[in-house]
């Protein structure tokens, strides 16, 4: 019998949940608020929460100084391209691991994940030299491939976990009905795993959007995404907190909007198979 939840308890849970949510969101809120302050107000002591003279001067200066549209388009192309390419490669890989596992499947999965443990700077020079040799420094396609390779272990792991929740008998039945391997993956498996694939897509898009080591080191002008845009406003000498906050707000706004619209899908995918 389900336990009755009192209104008081519900209200308490709501308050606690909102408090935790606010606490987590506070740094982003503070960044957004700082972006509307003058540099003097940005460093005021004690800090001013809302009672400051609101200004759009920082946004005007950032727009004047930087080609925001170019940084944004690069971020969209690089994050979107690497995520789609990763999914195309990972679906067949995760299918084989989930439905036709070998004795070494678990080892391969662990090995794939172990590549994430290598500090990126350890392979900076080899990758940089490779890019020079291939003539793809400051090239969007090169970054699409590199970010796809970086995130591939996570994509495979996530899809593998979702695919494992799908009964193999359904795929067997499709085979008995004469479905080819391609049809089995495309028309039977993929539609059933849409929530999982969608959340994998979104999570990897966010990871690729925020990637700031390779995108800073392998780009200069043509392929520089929003991470380079933010980095150009960070300074150890000078008072640029308000302008840095404006640049940060502009960089995170697209991903915040995307996350807001797709939160239902994201939560559904992330909790897929969590409760049976």
């Amino acid at each position: 019998m389900a336990r009755a939840v009192t209104n008081q308890r519900k209200a308490l849970n709501t308050v606690i949940a909102w408090s935790i949510g606010f606490l987590i969101f506070f740094p982003i809120l503070w960044t957004i608020l700082t972006s509307f302050k003058t540099e003097a107000d940005a460093i005021a002591n004690p800090p001013i929460f809302l009672g400051f003279d609101w200004t759009l001067e920082n946004y005007a200066e950032v727009m004047d100084r930087s080609n925001y549209a170019r940084f944004l388009s690069n971020s969209i192309l690089i994050a979107g391209g690497s995520t789609i390419l990763g999914i195309i490669i990972a679906i067949p890989a995760a299918w084989s691991m989930a439905f036709v596992p070998s004795r070494r499947t678990k080892d391969i999965l662990l090995w794939m994940l172990s590549t994430k443990m290598l500090p990126a700077v350890g392979v900076l020079y080899p990758i940089y030299l490779l890019c020079i040799q291939l003539g793809v420094l400051d090239n969007r396609f090169a970054l699409v491939v590199i970010l796809m390779l970086i995130n591939l272990p996570i994509i495979v792991w996530m899809l593998y976990t979702y695919f494992r929740e799908i009964p193999g008998e359904i795929l067997e039945a499709s085979r008995m009905d004469g479905a080819s391997l391609k049809e089995e993956i495309l028309y039977v498996l993929t539609p059933m795993a849409v929530p999982g694939i969608a959340s994998t897509l979104l999570l990897n898009f966010i990871l690729a959007w925020n990637e700031a080591f390779w995108t800073l080191n392998l780009t200069s002008v043509d392929a520089a995404p929003l991470t380079a845009f933010i980095a150009s406003y960070s300074s150890p000498e000078g008072l640029f907190f308000a302008k840095l906050s404006a640049a940060s707000t502009m960089a995170i706004a697209p991903i915040l909007i995307l996350g807001w619209f797709s939160q239902k899908q994201l939560v559904r995918g992330l909790t897929f198979g969590a409760v049976k």
Binding site: E39, N45, S73, I132, S262
Partner: protein, 438 residues
């Protein structure tokens, strides 16, 4: 279905924005890597003027100092060819020049008047007498202090104070009840942060990084005196958490009226005297960095300079920009538009001979500070290296960052000064042995 249409609408909007990026149609384009600070940003604002005059367009890659250093080092050591001009400092220039990675600046035009560059700057940006980078602006370090608090403490700041006076004044100006700290100094780990400050300070205490045979000197009394003096003064009169404070943190504290004195880069003078940034802008005085009567002051010497990497495909265009940006004409253009207080300081002799610039309150003290630093003879006892707050060898940045981490841990009370110095001695000797110096 609703979800899909929403996603499609979002994707269409994002693609529309991404399509707004416009292609550039200029014939010659140079790419410049630079740091994000006031003078460099100002220079970017005049790029259109340069393009109009020369037909050469400019792409800027602006990065935070440490990221820039990593980025340009990777590019130049691999001959990546990503940049036609790099903004580098006094540490990199002699090393990179010696390695043949930079275009020597021996073909500068007559109008450029290379002899007008301050000798201290030209010396620090040269290798074997050849200039490899043109200084855009130069800086030293000096004492910035609150004249009202100094007066209230019943003291008068001399033009050339001693460390003893600074410690005494710091104690007198400290007002814990009102959160006013007598003195704010860098303690943050990093060779260019707290490492730079303590190395420059150690010079005035007679300490040095290496003896003439490249043996580390952290086991000497001079180093113990430096660190103990710094730590005792900061514990008594410095802000809480000073072990993690760098330039920006101290600038914020000073502009909020929470520091009586601040010893840091001369370039900060324009920030602390700017009424838009600080309500105490009218109550700031300047003095030379302190000494101990040993013939060396505790100020450093630094320049942000423009250099052309060897192998660039746009050497001629890059040289044209370099001459334009570091010329006296550029200084005059900035002065005409934004006032003399905003011109890039510390690079040209003629700037300090200009009566208009002499009227700027911090101009003379900046020049005196720069002139009192000698990168070729930075210490009381002789050393085998060049550089005031660094040793111009490739290994220094890595070693000094580790050493400064040990020092910061001692300031934070995680270990004693003696332990920090012993570890610094071991780290440095080990690294120098591995690098083949010993």
């Amino acid at each position: 279905m609703k979800m899909v249409s929403r996603a499609l609408m979002g994707a269409t909007a994002l693609c529309a924005i991404s399509g707004m990026a416009l292609a550039d149609g200029h014939a010659t384009t140079i790419t410049i890597a630079t740091v994000n600070n006031g003078d460099m940003i100002r220079m970017q604002g005049y790029t259109d003027q340069f393009t109009e005059d020369t037909g050469i367009s400019v792409e800027w890659v602006t990065l935070e100092e440490n990221v820039l250093r990593q980025r340009v080092t990777t590019d130049i050591t691999t001959n990546g060819g990503q940049f036609d001009i790099m903004t580098i400092g006094m540490y990199e220039t002699p090393i990179w020049g010696a390695n043949g990675w930079l275009v020597p600046l021996d073909g500068l035009s007559e109008e450029y008047n290379v002899d007008d560059i301050l000798p201290a700057m030209a010396g620090g940006l040269s290798h074997d007498g050849t200039l490899y980078a043109a200084p855009f602006y130069g800086e030293s370090s000096m004492v910035m202090y609150r004249t009202d608090l100094m007066e209230a403490a019943g003291l008068e700041m001399p033009d050339a104070p001693t460390w003893e006076f600074i410690a005494e004044a710091a104690a007198a100006m400290t007002d814990r009840e009102n959160d006013v700290n007598g003195i704010c100094l860098r303690g943050k780990p990093g060779w260019g942060e707290g490492g730079a400050f303590i190395t420059a300070m150690s010079n005035s205490f007679g300490a040095r990084w290496f003896d003439e045979d490249w043996n580390a000197q952290f086991d000497t009394e001079e180093w113990a005196n430096t660190l103990n003096f710094y730590n005792d003064m900061m514990q008594a009169s410095g802000p809480a958490g000073f072990a993690t404070n760098g330039f920006t943190e101290n600038l914020n504290l000073f502009n909020q009226g929470l520091c009586g004195m601040w010893i840091d880069a001369t370039v900060a003078a324009s920030f602390v005297t700017n009424p838009d940034d600080s309500e105490y802008a009218d109550s700031v005085g300047f003095a030379l960095a302190p000494d101990n009567g040993l013939g060396r002051r505790s100020n450093w010497l630094w320049a942000w300079a423009l250099a052309i990497p060897a192998g660039t495909q746009q050497e001629e265009a890059a040289m044209t920009f370099l001459e334009w940006a570091t010329s006296t004409d550029y200084i005059e253009m900035v002065a005409a538009n934004e006032g003399w207080a905003n011109v890039p300081p510390g690079a040209r002799i003629s700037l300090y001979e200009n009566p208009d610039y002499q009227a700027v309150p911090f101009a003379q003290m900046t020049l005196d500070s720069i002139l009192s630093a000698d990168p070729n003879n930075p210490t009381v006892d002789p050393v085998p290296y060049v550089g005031v707050q660094f040793a111009a060898i490739p290994e220094f940045a890595g070693i000094a960052t580790e050493v400064s981490q040990e020092f910061s841990a001692a300031y934070a009370g995680q270990q004693t000064i003696e332990e920090a110095l012993a570890t610094a001695q071991a780290i440095t000797n080990e690294a120098m042995e591995a690098a083949g110096y010993r």
